[in-house]
Symmetry: C2
Subunit: 292 residues, 2 copies
């Protein structure tokens, strides 16, 4: 399907995409570049890439598919660095957790190469990042959100849909704004809450002994608190307006629960818990149907 | 080891204890009583109990081990109902998620049978309660917190330690107050936050579509929100002072994160996330060592 994938950012997300394409027989050659030479070297050793590029532009040159899988904050500089290397028919995608800022960066930085770009966000990940955790099955059965721009080429959009479907992902299309609201709610806010939750216990006297007694519920609730600090710094700042708006919704709900607890209103508290419990018990991952 | 277990409350926790004792060959006969006759009937059908008792007192009569595994709010009435049926050497335990209130209930309700009682809290559970989910391995490798009272008999305390160890649990002893602070932090607060988190999204316009796009992080973070509403109503109310105190710690930490996000202070935000991330990455379930 593709002659050459230019992979810019050979970490967990980029590396997994490369492995999945290779396993599906969708690409002949993969050229990779990472800001850290040791990462690029490791990607080569692991067979994630075939060729080490010396720059982002070199990775993109001659590629009919370019995936930018760098921290969100580095997206604009990467776009600026590769714009002249992109062919007219090349498909360019990102994997960023926020979309409005990436779209704005593309509009500023890509110039005549803007039609190449189809913004993408695969809903997949692991607690720990890095190419050593790359996994050909990472996107299998997972949602991938595309937020096509008015400027995105029809050919590029069709190719984007094909390639994600071919590696087993489930496509959803949304506007960048709807994407950012949705993921502020179901991803960015839970990360913020999990970080603050650990922080709030760890800073108490005897906090370490308290944490040591966490059970299975604690383990699952806090798993995402072990996420990569630099990546999450970028995500929380890039989507800060939507995140702070979701935090207000959460605070309001929490204050209502608190009021019921303080008042000792068991009947109303049970009803409110039951609504949340029923909602969560009926929830299934990947249950989204377009149009719902 | 025991002639007869009197099981009062044949749900997930009680049923699992009965199955574990039976599997370990530690009990000859199990008499069970639940407030709901269909639960007692089901426990009999599943082989969790051998004999259906018609009352809590009947289940306790002639038993050398009595486990009260009822909702925390029903503990005191259960103690009052069984006190005359308890033999002098009988070991009586509960499995409640809070301990100060259970200790106070025991002091009010058990009278001369008080030496029988050793308060216990096994750190184990599943999202869904009920005898159908009972599992002989539920307590295997899990912590069980004992909060012995000054009145607890030496013989009873030794037996309590033996029986939990014999079914594979890991014993920790604490005061009721230390227990309630610890589990307000690592269990009750996360449940409250998870309930309020789901509630805060579900009440927004389009909330159902937003929830449908949650990924693996959302799944794990919210698993505990599917917990049993009646049980958690009782726990959140029974331990409300400690819970609201932990909520204040959390709110303070969250406000500090929010301030860094609003100020766009990437360096300080990354450092704060990194501390939480490192703490969680180094955490292992069941890592508690007495004395730490």
């Amino acid at each position: 399907m593709f002659e050459r994938l230019g992979l810019i950012g050979c970490g967990l997300m980029g590396g997994s995409f490369a492995l999945a394409l290779r396993q599906a027989g969708l690409v002949r050659q993969i050229a990779g570049f990472s800001a850290s030479p040791t990462t690029t070297q490791r990607a080569l050793e692991l067979g994630v890439i075939d060729v080490q590029a010396d720059s982002a532009a070199e990775a993109a040159a001659g590629a009919d598919l370019v995936l930018v899988a760098v921290p969100v904050a580095a997206t604009e500089a990467t776009f600026a660095a590769i714009r002249s290397a992109l062919g007219a028919d090349t498909l360019l995608m990102d994997v960023g957790s926020t979309k409005s800022d990436v779209v704005a960066a593309a509009e500023r930085a890509l110039g005549p190469a803007l039609p190449c770009f189809v913004p993408a966000h695969p809903i997949a990940g692991k607690e720990r990042s890095g190419v050593d955790h790359a996994d050909a099955a990472l996107y299998q059965g997972r949602h991938v959100i595309l937020t096509p721009m008015a400027t995105s080429g029809a050919r590029q959009l069709a190719l984007a849909q094909e390639v994600w479907a071919a590696i087993g992902a489930r496509l959803v299309e949304m506007t960048p704004a709807a994407h950012d609201t949705t993921f502020a709610a179901v991803s960015h806010l839970p990360h913020l809450l999990a970080f603050a939750f650990i922080d709030g216990i760890a800073r108490q006297p005897g906090g370490a002994a308290i944490l040591a007694l966490g059970g299975p519920g604690f383990r699952d609730f806090t798993r995402i608190a072990a996420a990569d600090p630099r990546m999450w710094r970028d995500v929380l700042l890039a989507n800060r307006q939507e995140l702070l708006d979701q935090l207000r919704h959460h605070r309001q709900a929490l204050a209502q629960f608190e009021q019921l607890i303080e008042a000792g209103d068991g009947a109303a508290l049970e009803q409110r818990i039951a609504q949340a419990s029923d909602t969560r018990a009926a929830w299934h991952m990947d249950s989204f149907k377009p149009g719902t």
